[in-house]
Amino acid sequence: MSREKFQSISAADFFYRNREIAGFDNPVRATYTIIRELVENALDACEQYSIPPDVRTKLIDEGNSIYRIRVEDNGIGVPYDQVPYAFGQILFGSKYMLRQSRGIFGLGGKMAVLYGQITAHSSVKVLSSTGGFEKYFYELNINVQENKPIIRRKEVTPNPGRWRGTIIEFSFEGDYIRAKPKVVEYFRQTSILLPYANILFIDPDGALYRFDKITEEMPKPAETVKPHPYGVDLEIVHRMINATRSSTMVDFLVNNFHRVGAATAMNFLKEAKISQNANPRTLDSKDLLRLVNKMKDYDGFQPPDAQCLSPIGEELLKKGIIREFRPEYVAVTQRGASAYAGYPFIVEAAIAYGGDIPITPPDEMLVFRFANKIPLLYDLHSDVTMKVIKKINWQRYRLDLSSMPLAFFVHICATKVPYKTVGKEYIADRPEVEYEIEWALKTCARDVRNHLAKKEKADIVQRRLSVFEKYLPMIAQFSTELAGNGKPPDYEKVLRRVQAHAKEVEQRSLVEAE
């Protein structure tokens, strides 16, 4: 009987062996994923520092299914000495902090680079500057087994224009022709949510997709927060203890957890039967298990605070939808903060009616889902939003999904988005999330219904008015002919009465709608 050999593998190696779970399972999906990951990193590099993004993407067909991608942003830039690690090494953060961002661990971009290296033997070229006197160019590869960057070339050049940003370029094996619909849709939907961003994409056929910003306003950037006690597990707590410099349990809890103050910490420790002054490092595994279990069901913790999140906001959401669809009406709403499993989240939703929105058959409903500002393009029918849309009785809102031009938008932002899978294209039906989405959509639906009711009334009033405008002059003319009078009577007075009545009705309906 031979002994099995076990060996540790590097993080880079792990992802190399499991690339399909990160969305690189085939050339089509890889093309889409690479573009998405790079654009998202570029957008994050801008937004997290309140820089209105200006992101340009170019994809070039190099033949034999090899494509060269180039993404340029005007973000904060990567400091000179960190470039190799930012693009050439797969790292896990050592600080256990949470922040709403597009990528979960900042891994997506590196996976893209790794994929390019594997499929096209491409090294990655990076040009970056933080806006100082120099800009620096790197050509890198990843040493997969050792998980280390290999620097092929390095150049520092003057930066007289004080350019700031990052340009990344590499080749990979892909299939743009088949990925194209999703790629274009990705840019389009991203622009809906980011009306403050210039987004430009030139595809291999030379087609230009350009989305210009229509506002300078930006949502406030997301803030980093400590984890909430509800949201940690044994492994994380174990690591946190290893990393902490706190010498007592009270200090440890107060310093490392979200919304835990001294009083809460002391009460909690009493409940968990752990001494306040115990050194966290001296807890045995039984204590540790009890501590973590107690964290899950102790109800004395303050709920997570959503101040750290960066929702789009009703106004911006509306602007983006209007730019894309020019609808007759948009109802938007932002729900109050909620939390699931210790992670704060906020749901924003919109329902747009009319304009460029087509009437769609039921299985092609226009449902736009976003999570942390990323459009979700796959697996609509497994998504919680779809479940909610199917559940709502739209007739109560006098909306008919099969005969009315309607589009639905749902954005969830959270320190951790409850994706169902690592491929992250649909959201799990956590009851807290489902509840928020449902009420957000219902609020919008009520708003749209009121608009339609108001419009209907105004239409009726207008139609009435036009009937009078059509017939009164005729009545005047015929009565003149019958009476044998020289000139027709002045019917304006009568018409004014009709108009006054119309105005009255309209005002009454406004009051009713409110």
């Binding site: 002919e481 009078n485 009577p489």
Partner: protein
């Protein structure tokens, strides 16, 4: 009634125009009240012996979005009528419907424009012939009656003897509106069908009975009914009606005498004193006429007539009962079985005598 016509119709129309005009000038919504023609408002007037409209009025107001269109249509028909009368032109219902298309007056179909004409008749209490809108003519007159045309302009003053054309003269507006100059006849025979009308001319019935002959060609058109009434009222001629012996023929006679429910809004179309000479149901046996069984439709019709206010008189009811009993009907031509002239030689004298004696 057609005699009073033009000036009176014109003044009614301009009165209507003045009212509407004044209302608009005052800043009010013009409105018109028209006697309602719904079944519940059609009542039998004992004195007139015909159906008339009751007191219900229906409103056509410009303030009401549902009525303003039909008010406009009504006023258009009125102004169209005014033009016809003042220019001494005439038109038909179909013609009027086509005219409307030129004026942006949308009638859904001719039924709607026909109804609007009836509205105007009701409102003014004038038949549409009064404002020169006529149905298609098919009735004819023959007899020793000298008339002078009053319309159209081209024929005004021209005289004609209605016995001059052996086919009879078509009863149109000009004949119906003509002045009666002289008349040697002392009675009128109104006949339901052309074949018998011709036979009467050929058999010189006009001469033998000193009568004017009128062919209604089925249900009598309004102009024929007007002319019959004028002959009866202006010349004092007794009127005798000859129809088939079936519920339909009977009703042709009844409409001439007491009017139709459709024209309950109009008076002065009826000839109450006219007499139905036959064929009666009882004549079938009396004169041994060849007959046919009643159809289902005939029997249903009889049941309806039994309930009809106009038929409540004993003579009419007993004829209806006879039909029900014998379940047979006969046509005017049935007399031919007894010889070409039987109807003239035997039947007419006998029936006229019966009627005089009753």
């Amino acid at each position: 009634m057609l005699r009073k016509s033009n000036r009176e119709v014109l003044s009614k129309l301009s009165e209507l125009g003045n009212e509407i005009y004044a209302e608009i000038e005052r800043g009010e919504f013009p409105r018109i009240r028209i006697p309602s023609r719904t079944t519940s408002n059609i009542v039998f007037d004992e004195e007139l012996g015909q159906f008339v409209l009751g007191n219900q009025r229906s409103l056509r107001s410009a303030a009401n979005i549902k009525q303003i269109r039909s008010l406009t249509q009504l006023l258009w028909v009125a102004s169209f009528a005014k033009r016809l009368v003042s220019e001494e032109k005439s038109s038909t219902l179909r013609d009027l419907y086509y005219h409307s298309l030129n004026y942006g007056i949308r009638f859904r179909d001719q039924t709607e424009s026909d109804d609007t004409v009836t509205d105007l008749e009701t409102l003014l209490g004038e038949p549409r012939e009064g404002f020169n809108i006529f149905p298609k003519e098919r009735s004819a007159i023959f007899g020793d009656l000298e008339i002078e045309y009053t319309t159209p302009e081209t024929h005004k003053g021209r005289r004609v003897n209605l016995g001059s054309n052996p086919d009879g003269v078509m009863v149109g507006l000009s004949v119906a509106q003509a002045d009666f100059l002289s008349c040697k006849a002392d009675k009128v025979f109104v006949i339901e069908k052309n074949a018998v009308f011709r036979r009467f001319i050929e058999e010189r019935v006009y001469d033998k009975f000193n009568a004017i002959l009128i062919d209604t060609a089925g249900q009598a058109p309004r102009l024929a009914r007007l002319l019959i009434r004028r002959l009866n009222q202006e010349l004092g001629l007794p009127v005798y009606l000859l129809t088939d012996a079936d519920p339909w023929g009977m009703h042709i006679a009844m409409v001439i005498i007491r009017g139709s429910a459709n024209a309950a809004h109009l008076r002065e179309l009826t000839t109450v004193k006219a007499k139905w000479v036959g064929l009666w149901a009882t004549d079938i046996k009396r004169f041994s006429l060849p007959s046919f069984p009643l159809t289902k439709l005939d029997e249903e019709r009889i049941r309806l007539l039994e309930e009809d206010m106009r038929y409540r008189d004993f003579e009419w009811q007993s004829e209806l009962q006879e039909f029900k009993k014998t379940k047979r009907r006969a046509e005017l031509e049935a007399f031919s079985a007894h010889g070409l002239t039987a109807i003239v030689d035997k039947y007419l004298p006998k029936k006229l005598k019966m009627i005089e004696e009753s």
